[in-house]
């Protein structure tokens, strides 16, 4: 091996190592201090509610969850990814919402797009409060496409009859008093 080639390989190896080290912090860090928009406290009402698309996915433990089995509940379906900054910001508020309204018949399903169980599990351990709702895996993004999601995060509210009645494009503060009050009024056991 020539010295030039050896040096080139060493440089490439060093570059790869540096990238691997940098990969430990996400790009979100680079923009963390930017003046980001506040999380919204409202939902967008769907003018003509239609039946929700199918949603049958496995969670981090490989257990299958089917939206069709949740008829009679108020279901919040949240599409997200660990690298999505507003998704990360809103995730604790989803758990807070679930804590307050689960006894009233509200269920949260969070659908991670394109990542594996290890990645999602590792991220969820960093959250405070940690999510106690199912983290479903949409690794091929087919569910996301079926739900016509165009950007992350996007959240839908499914009424007890299985119809999509509200949507939220972009990050939300799900545990704001206004959101809690609005969603409580839609729960089957309020």
């Amino acid at each position: 091996m020539s010295f030039v080639r050896a040096e080139s390989r060493m440089k490439q190896g060093l570059f790869t190592f540096m990238l691997a080290c940098m990969a430990a912090f996400p790009v979100a860090v680079a923009v963390a201090a930017a003046d980001l928009p506040p999380l919204t406290q409202g939902l967008t009402q769907i003018a003509e509610p239609k039946p929700a698309p199918a949603l049958r996915l496995v969670d981090l433990d490989g257990r299958e969850h089917d939206l069709a089995d949740l008829k009679g509940k108020l279901v919040v379906v949240n599409f997200w990814a660990t690298w999505c900054p507003p998704c990360r910001r809103e995730m604790p508020s989803l758990e807070s919402l679930r804590t307050r309204l689960d006894k009233h018949g509200l269920v949260v399903l969070a659908v991670d797009v394109g990542e594996d169980a290890d990645t999602v599990f590792s991220f969820s351990g960093q959250l405070e409060p940690a999510p106690n709702f199912p983290l479903l895996l949409d690794q091929d993004s087919k569910a996301m496409q079926r739900w016509k999601v165009k950007g992350l995060p996007t959240t839908f509210v499914i009424d007890p009859q299985g119809r999509v009645i509200y949507r939220a494009v972009g990050g939300r503060e799900f545990d704001s008093p206004a959101m809690i009050e609005a969603l409580l009024a839609l729960t089957p056991n309020h």
Binding site: Q12, F15, T16, L19, A20, M22, A23, A24, F25, P26, V27, V29, A30, V31, A32, A33, A34, D35, L36, P37, T40, Q41, G42, T44, A81, W83, C84, P85, P86, V113, G114, E115, D116, Q139, D140, S141, M144, K150, G151, L152, A168, V169, G170, G171
Partner: protein, 189 residues
């Protein structure tokens, strides 16, 4: 409370559709990350660009299985974290990135499309997981926002690092087209 006539005239003009209400552009620098953010609010819509320097962009995509060749190509394409938010537009807005324009040194072009990047990644044989991560990390190619709705994603201009440009964002509300411009934006080095 009494208003002078010219104040009333100004307020009346400001209420007319198409008048650039609160269109002042702001710029802020984050010493911690070394990045600059440009922001404007016009017609009830917030438009924000924050530099993503090449190194964090490299890290993000390398961590998602991109080969070095692809990482380098994207990271040096003048990447911005982009936010468009409907704060108080007179209705649901819709936009297509193809209608936006990047003006630099006398040339005008749309931002690099997500489709153009995806074609490159497919040609390079990137894994499905890497392509999915890329697709959904980008600012949406088209979208609709009711009041309160917004997205945040990556956008590339395709300009060399250090380039200066103006970004003209366009959207429609009830069939009427609106514009928001960020001037003298600089690509990170």
């Amino acid at each position: 409370m009494k208003f002078r006539p010219f104040v009333l005239l100004t307020m009346a003009l400001a209420s007319l559709s198409g008048f650039p209400v609160n269109a002042a552009q702001t710029q802020s620098h984050d010493p911690e990350t070394g990045t600059t953010t440009w922001q404007t609010r016009v017609h009830g819509v917030t438009l924000l660009l924050t530099q993503i320097p090449p190194d964090p962009a490299r890290a993000f995509y390398f961590n998602r299985g991109f080969p070095l060749q692809a990482v380098e190509r994207y990271a040096t394409a003048c990447v911005f974290m982009t936010v468009l938010r409907n704060d108080a537009a007179p209705g649901e807005l819709s936009f297509r990135l193809d209608d936006w324009r990047v003006q630099s040194e006398g040339r005008t072009q749309p931002p690099t499309s997500v489709e153009a990047w995806m074609e490159q990644w497919q040609a390079l044989g990137l894994t499905e997981a890497a392509q999915i991560a890329f697709r959904w990390a980008q600012f949406p190619p088209e979208q609709e926002y009711a009041v309160g709705e917004w997205n945040q994603g990556m956008l590339t201009t395709g300009l060399p690092p250090g380039s200066r440009f103006d970004l003209i964002a366009r959207w429609t509300v009830a069939g009427k087209t609106f514009e928001g411009t960020l001037e003298n934006v600089v690509c990170a080095r």
